[in-house]
């Protein structure tokens, strides 16, 4: 469970990026963070685990004030996957093992290795486990980074465009896995995502950002042609096809 009160952020004394951000998400839910480019989506999720220090406001992760936690304790509670990650001459297994860093004192324990193995098989990365990450495709790399975040065994999962490089099949598979994990482990996922139809399919909470403020927040009922028009500046229709809600743009 995550709750955010009155969060604000600005770079130095410059332009404010985020203002009066207030929302909460119950355990086991997936929240989609939506908005046009530069609305402050990435900045928002980076403020939640203090990658960026917010100027004001409070973030509670499972009731604990994130400001009072050490970096290590934050890492045990909140995992983050960046939009892009540089590939290195490191095996996929070791890249996922890095997710155990907050728990490792000097050498990884048997349990750490066990967790890495189960995450790798959960994301169907077994065949890549011994490959170097600088030999992977963009989509494979994105899955590896998600695996690393899951190996952290977080209570909150922050994902910045986790499906940006994935093919159609993998987009659905990966989001399905994320949804399953949030439900079975009763954790939160906060996902910055551009594909509205994927968001509608796999997320249950929607946070629409406009100019650094929350424009609208709630369940699927906040996705209406009016809100989408105001946030993205594009006329759309929202329809149900075979029981699935879809957004169809009319530029």
């Amino acid at each position: 469970m995550i709750s955010v009160e009155n969060l604000s952020f600005a770079y130095g004394r410059g332009r404010t990026i985020l203002n009066d951000i207030d929302f909460c998400a119950p355990k086991g839910s997936c929240t989609a963070v939506l908005g046009n480019n530069g609305a402050g989506k990435s900045t928002l999720i980076k403020c939640l685990n203090r990658i960026l220090e917010p100027q004001g406001g409070v973030v509670y992760a499972d009731g604990k004030n994130v400001r009072d936690l050490s970096r290590h304790d934050i890492a045990k509670n909140i995992a983050y996957v960046a939009q892009r990650s540089a590939a290195q001459r490191v095996t996929v297994f070791d890249a996922v093992l890095l997710g155990r860093k907050p728990y490792i004192k000097f050498e990884p324990s048997r349990e750490d290795i066990q967790i890495v193995r189960s995450v790798i098989s959960r994301l169907e990365l077994e065949n890549l486990a011994m490959r170097y990450t600088d030999e992977l495709s963009g989509g494979e790399m994105q899955k590896v980074m998600l695996a690393r975040a899951l190996a952290q065994q977080p209570r909150i999962l922050l994902l910045d465009e986790p499906t940006g490089n994935l093919d159609l099949g993998n987009q659905y598979k990966v989001l399905e896995t994320i949804r399953q994990i949030t439900r079975t482990e009763q954790i939160n996922a906060i996902i910055v995502i551009h594909d509205l139809n994927l968001a509608l399919r796999y997320c249950d909470r929607f946070l629409l950002l406009k100019d650094g403020r929350i424009f609208s927040h709630g369940g699927i009922e906040v996705i209406t042609p009016e809100t989408i028009k105001k946030v993205y500046g594009l006329p759309v229709t929202v329809q149900k096809i075979n029981g699935i809600t879809v957004v169809i743009p009319y530029p």
Partner: protein, 351 residues
């Protein structure tokens, strides 16, 4: 599933085996290096001298001449390579090392200052050699200016919140400034003193006694402990500052602390043995290709490679034109420059 874990275990075992064989190779090379030279010792004589069974003559050669020299090379190689490896990690720059961050140039200026202004050394007219009358004064001045260079970089990055890129760039700027200052000093100095400075900057592994070796060894040992405690931090930093922060790394703290430790280590070594370029740069890069970027293995492997390179270079310096000992700094630069060029252009091509 079972298969998967077995391959990982095998992979880890392979890495450990590689490091172990590197260490064995180093041991054998060091033994050979002790025996090689004009005195014509055999490896067997060296071994018996080491364990206290040899003749008095071979014991004198081994303990008073060869061993201090080779241990100096080993300690300096280890320290420079480990420091270079860590600098490359925390500055996220493949070209970071003591000789590109102004540390070597600061030391060279300090030595020039001690020799020319404070009169700590001169060229010996009769023997065609150089006498450094107060080696500790030269080392102290070299250390002072090497550390000054580091402190300026760290101070700027601490108060101005500089990025790793600007830290490297300020290192380059300081290198130029210190070389310029050293040149100015030399321009107005007597030629015998300039000769002494030039000899000092060539690097010399043969002038260190056991006291200096112990100081260097302790510094290198402490820095190795600090580095290995940070190896997971270095691994995390490779994925970028933001991801590292999300994994619990205090990015700024680790960067400042490890910069300070690696620079101090390099400064101590350079002040005692003179400028030995490129070991800190090439050793990590050579071995990175073989062992990958996991600092659990890269760090010890780099240190061993640096040691091996410096021991071999030193032996080459002693043997090529024996009985003349060629300047070690020139040998390592000659070895390193082509690789440096290759790395620069490889980097350009990829970006």
């Amino acid at each position: 599933m079972k298969h998967n874990s077995d391959t990982y275990k095998g992979y880890i075992r392979k890495k450990n085996l590689f490091i172990l064989s590197l260490a064995m190779l180093l041991l054998i090379t060091a033994l050979w290096a002790v025996s090689a030279g004009s005195a014509g010792l055999t490896v067997k004589e060296v071994l018996s001298a080491l364990f206290g069974f040899g003749s008095e003559r071979s014991a004198v050669i081994v303990f008073n001449h060869r061993l201090p020299r080779i241990i100096t090379a080993a300690v300096a190689g280890t320290g420079l390579a480990a420091a270079g490896c860590v600098m490359q990690s925390i500055l996220k720059n493949p070209l970071a090392s003591a000789s590109t961050l102004g540390i070597s140039q600061g030391a060279a200026f300090g030595a020039s200052f001690a020799i020319i202004v404070l009169g700590a050394g001169t060229q010996n007219q009769t023997l065609n050699g150089v006498t450094i009358s107060s080696p500790y004064l030269v080392s102290a001045c070299a250390f002072f200016f090497a550390v000054l260079s580091t402190l300026i970089i760290l101070g700027l990055s601490h108060f101005k919140k500089a990025t790793p890129e600007s830290m490297v760039l300020s290192g380059v700027a300081l290198s130029t400034m210190f070389s310029g200052a050293a040149t100015l000093l030399q321009y107005f100095a007597a030629d015998v003193k300039v000769a002494a400075v030039v000899f000092w900057t060539f690097g010399d592994l043969g002038c260190t006694g056991w006291n200096e070796i112990i100081i260097m060894a302790i510094t290198v040992a402490v820095s190795l402990v600090i580095f290995s405690l940070n190896r997971w931090n270095f691994n995390a930093l490779q994925s970028g500052d933001e991801t590292a922060k999300s994994l619990g790394v205090n990015v700024t703290g680790v960067r400042l602390m490890c910069m300070l430790v690696s620079s101090l280590t390099a400064a101590v070594i350079v002040s005692f043995v003179g400028i030995i370029s490129f070991i800190g740069l090439i050793a990590p890069h050579l071995i990175r290709r073989v062992i990958g970027n996991d600092y659990r293995y890269l760090l010890p492997a780099s240190a061993l490679t640096g040691t091996l390179l410096l021991v071999v270079s030193d032996t080459a310096a002693r043997l090529i034109a024996a009985p003349i000992i060629l300047p070690i700094g020139a040998i390592t630069s000659f070895l390193g420059a082509p690789l440096f060029l290759y790395l620069v252009f490889r980097g350009v091509g990829r970006r």
